[in-house]
């Protein structure tokens, strides 16, 4: 029986050990040893009950006192070990949690930024950090200990029983493999059910959020049976799978318990038969029966623990997945770029999964194919092209969210992998389309660009990006908290804060993904001005949507929508060529003059 326990535990404890540093691992091992010692002492106490009862029932006073003393020694021993284990368990849980949180934080910092772009990643990661890690840290106490108790106590009792009455021990021993096999089967089926369950839960949950999120559209629809149908179906499937999971897990547990109980009944019948036959002393029989009845409890309860083990395993799976994620290669010695010219040389890139891809293309599709262009040092290069042509991907590659599948992206003649992510981060100041602001003051968010900046530098950057105008309107001025993600500011305003951040950072290269949403007059003007400021002495690569940006760029790169470049040159050259770009420009121009209804 102990074999089943150790198998389940070895994987669980082993995987936990692999996640924590050696010092904490040592603590964990000591703790597990202490738990085992506790269980052995506990079992020993039960075993000693047999000689104690024998002495007591046969009126052997010295014998009774002797065995009572023995029991007391075991009891005190248990109290000491149990106290130490109890104290250590809680402290170790904190140590494990601390180690995991640290490792997790480091890991997040290590992962390529591209990993986080995928839609569901952020949610999963934060879920893992809080609930997941907490659960794993408490695993030793909540799951490992009961499982050890469930298997070590019966094992000890079995050994003790073998010493007292080998024939009864044989009955129990025969049952052991049966119990073990049933236990394995349960664990496997629980794990399977748990995976299927996770899937339907995720589906139902996303449908519910969808239903709520789109409520404005659904309500005004006057008949929302389509949306409600999708939702009801998901809830129904979830309900069905939950029932099936409960029934199969329940069936497995029942089977397990029946096997255990059959063993008990066998011992009972066999023991009584022996006693009536005179082959077994009555006090010994009573002692053995007490043992048998008592020791089934932890085993039966361990069947119910299977669910806990499966849950812990799932959480560990998520963590392992996170830790197995490949990171970008980093050079031992970062190379020095010669100048700040940006070059894409025969770059090919596609996103691995649809979650990574976002709006830029479907899974596995090549987004950029054999793409080459140069953004000269100190000049502004505008990237334009139809939606889905890979504009944002270019920004991400330049900020080294990912490395291209083929070809190189280089700065000053050095490929990004040779520069290393740290050096790239120093050289490139990115301004993304979806600017994320931390829930702090506007000042804090700008200061992030250069934590050691002086107040004057900060003020200058804010002024150039016209953040001071935004701040004038905020209730608490510079100290106004912008809310999680910056929700208190409009999209255009957030981008201005991000530009100020980039200005403050004063990196030689700025890569800017212009907001696609139409800016109101104030934001439009502010972004235009700060772009003028940015390009004064920097290499600027901009995914351009504003007509002004496109028109005044030193160089325009027009993507063809099939992973390559249609045309490149200056605005005037391209217009004169009257090709794709000229057509694009005319459409955009017509759109800019569009009126809802002619006057």
């Amino acid at each position: 029986m102990s074999a089943a326990g150790t198998t389940a535990l070895r994987t669980l404890v082993g995987r936990l050990l692999a996640l924590v540093p050696p010092a904490v691992g040592r603590r964990l091992r000591i703790l597990v040893t202490l738990f085992v010692a506790c269980a052995v002492l506990q079992g020993l106490g039960f075993v000693l009950l047999v000689p104690f009862l024998t002495a007591l029932f046969s009126g052997d006073r010295p014998g009774t006192t002797y065995w009572l003393t023995g029991l007391a020694v075991v009891g005190i021993g248990y109290a000491v070990v149990g106290t130490v284990a109890g104290r250590r368990a809680q402290i170790t849980a904190a140590e494990v949690l601390s180690a995991l949180l640290e490792r997790f934080g480091d890991r997040l910092a290590e992962l390529p930024i591209g990993w986080f772009v995928a839609a569901d990643r952020t949610g999963r990661a934060s879920e893992a950090a809080t609930r997941g890690l907490n659960f794993v840290a408490s695993t030793t106490y909540v799951i490992v200990r009961p499982v050890i108790t469930a298997f070590v106590i019966p094992a000890t009792v079995l050994v003790g029983a073998a010493v007292v009455e080998p024939r009864i021990a044989v009955v129990l021993l025969v049952a052991a493999p049966v119990v073990w096999l049933t236990y394995r089967a349960i664990a496997a089926s629980t794990a399977r059910a748990s995976h299927e369950h996770d899937d339907v839960v995720a589906e139902a949950s996303s449908r519910i959020v969808e239903y709520a999120r789109h409520q404005p559209a659904l309500r005004t629809a006057s008949d929302s049976t389509i949306a409600r149908g999708l939702l009801d179906e998901a809830i129904g499937r979830r309900d069905a799978v939950a029932r099936r999971t409960h029934l199969s897990a329940g069936g497995a547990t029942a089977l397990f318990a029946v096997v255990v109980h059959l063993c008990v009944v066998a011992v009972l019948v066999f023991g009584v038969w022996l006693a009536l036959d005179g082959g077994l002393a009555v006090p010994a029989l009573i002692g053995l029966l007490v043992l048998t009845v008592r020791f089934t409890e932890p085993i039966v309860n361990s069947g119910a623990l299977g669910g806990g083990i499966a849950a812990a395993r799932n959480t560990l799976d998520h963590l392992d997945e996170l830790f197995a994620e490949p990171v970008l290669p980093e050079p031992a010695e970062p190379a020095q770029p010669r100048g700040h010219e940006v070059r894409f040389d025969r770059v090919r890139f596609g996103y691995g999964t649809s979650a990574d891809a976002g709006a830029d293309g479907a899974a596995g599709e090549t987004v950029l194919d054999d793409l080459s262009f140069t953004a000269p040092q100190g000049a502004m290069t505008a990237i334009v092209g139809p939606s889905g042509s890979g504009k944002s991907t270019i920004v991400r590659l330049l900020a080294r969210f990912y490395d291209p599948g083929a070809g190189t992206v280089s700065i000053g003649g050095v490929a990004l992998p040779d520069l290393g992510s740290t050096r790239v981060a120093e050289l490139v100041a990115p301004v993304f389309q979806d600017v994320y602001l931390f829930d702090g003051s506007v000042i804090d968010n700008i200061r992030l660009g250069r934590p050691d900046a002086t107040d004057e530098q900060l003020a200058a950057a804010s002024r150039h990006a016209r953040v001071d105008e935004i701040v004038d309107r905020l209730p608490d001025g510079w100290d106004t908290a912008v809310g999680e993600g910056g929700v208190l500011l409009s999209g255009g305003e957030r981008q201005r804060v991000a530009i100020a951040r980039a200005l403050l950072k004063d990196a030689p290269i700025v890569v800017l993904d212009e907001a696609t949403s139409a800016l109101d007059a104030e934001n439009d003007e502010a972004v235009g001005r700060s772009l003028d400021e940015l390009r004064r002495d920097r290499t600027v690569v901009v995914v351009a949507h504003r007509l002004q940006t496109i028109r005044t760029a030193d160089r325009v790169v027009m993507l063809d929508g099939h992973g390559g470049i249609a045309e490149q040159g200056t605005h005037d050259e391209l217009l004169a060529r009257d090709g794709d770009y000229a057509r694009y420009w005319r459409t955009r121009h017509r759109a800019a003059g569009w009126r809802l209804r002619s006057p």
Binding site: R87, A129, T130, R501, E522, E525, H589, R595
Partner: protein, 610 residues
Amino acid sequence: MSGTVLSPSVPASGPVPADGPEPPPVDLFAPVRARLVWIVVLAAAGAAATVVPLVAVVELARTLWPALGGQPVDTARVWWIVAIAAIALPLSFAAAWGSIMVGHLTDARLQSEVRTRMVDLLGRLPLGWFGSRSSGVVKKTVENDVSALHHLTGHAVHDLVVAIVVPVLSLVYLFATEWRMALACLVPLVLTVVLYGVMMAGSREQLVRYDESVERLNGATVEFVHGIAVVKSFGQGRGRHAGYQRETGRFLQFYRGWMNETSVMQTVIEVATAPVVVLVWLAAVGTWLTGDGTVAPVDILPALVLGLGLTAPLLQLGYTGQAMRTALQARDSVTRFLAQPAQSLPARPVAPRDSTAEFTGVSFAYEADREVLHDVTLTCRPGTVTALVGPSGSGKSTLARLLPRFHDVTEGGVSVGGADVREIAPSRLYAEIGFVLQDAHILRTTVRDNIRLARPGADDDAVERAARAARIHDRILRLPRGYDSVVGEDAHLSGGEEQRLTIARALITDAPILVLDEATAALDPDSEAAVQDAISALAVDRGLLVIAHRLHTITGADAVLVLDGGRIVERGTHEELLALRGRYRDLWERHERARSAGSPDTAGTDRDAR
């Protein structure tokens, strides 16, 4: 038993805030009451049956006792006892198992019912409820909290019944056989209850603090993960984000301190109630009592057999205390959610006469004392375009959203065809008023169903016609499965394409009044032209209420209303307002400056465009 756990009156996480006059009492468990009784009955039967084999062992000892003195034994009685024990064992398990199974199936049913109720309510909450944070609230309440209810029906009821029935029955038997040993058995039981009481009293405050620190850690992690691109691209990626660092430090400090405090008491309880320790205690008392012959040796056996198992069910309750706490908090949270007042529906719906929308003396406040619209009056007739302009925060969106009842007015009235919007049946109201929002609101389902979302009965021809008019038909045909492609799975659409889908949707709905909430503002400018064409198709013959940033787009509107600080400060046509040289003129000049910065050579390119 179940009543104590499940009645909504048990306070778990502080008082339930009373908002609204008196929300109807919500009884989550009403649909499963009958099954709860089954859980209790089966659990009690199972618990009672677990005591039987133990009693059988004792009775077996009594019956076999004469054998010790070499006297004959009542063999028939022995086998009877064995038979009873052999039956009781599986019976106890079967009943306990049945109770757990019924509990779990009940839980599945309950979760399904509660979720459906919550979703029903989602469909009737005021639309203003669905703000930027509502997704998080829905995820937490409808998903996580309802799942957390599992512990109540799945485990807590059963555990509680067992924790009462087993000790009570055992004690009855113990007192019936040998009262002195029974008293000895009471000692660990009382000790457990007292120690737990002490621990719980001290931990209440700590638990609140624990929740708070988890919450903070959660926030810091979410922010860290969401802001990772920023953190890393500003060179702080090698180290952990400062906020995350700080919060994990703080959380661990608290966690350690807390563990340190509770682990003492926890350990004392565990050691004091451990079977082996209780065994030593009872054996010692038994030895002492039998020593002077007060008690026969066989009479201390009941205590040794049954006395060991008294505390275990209580400890089980203790182990699951955290799950119980979470479940009770979740129950309160779900109850509060369900108690939210739904939007009022008219008792006697009035039918609108025509499609004229009117705002009469409308004032509105999100919270009391903070009015954001003051005394606004306007009319929007079929076939006319009414534009709302003004600086951000002036109340344009709020005003437009009163028409489809995102909120209801604080004072004054909004009416369609002479009937107050609150008096019109929703389906009728939304047949009159369509809405094209900034957010495209596309569901993860087929393109076809997305287009006919508001008119599920629309046939394929109608869908295609709408798609053509919205300039999206050709794009749809290029998708892997055409109209059957599922958005987000094999149809990846750009913002502009999604917006055209919603325009097709509005075309199918064919409401005579349309509210356009900056429909093109959030668009990818590269697809703007196509969307504009689609909107032009939409604008034909309808009454439009338009919120506009880009003033040149609405110069042809029949009426332009300038909002500032929640009031209409100017109204008239574009030309009239320019002539006023007031607020509108300022806005217009600023707008034109920005526009000309974008294209100083407008004349030249305009020629190209033709």
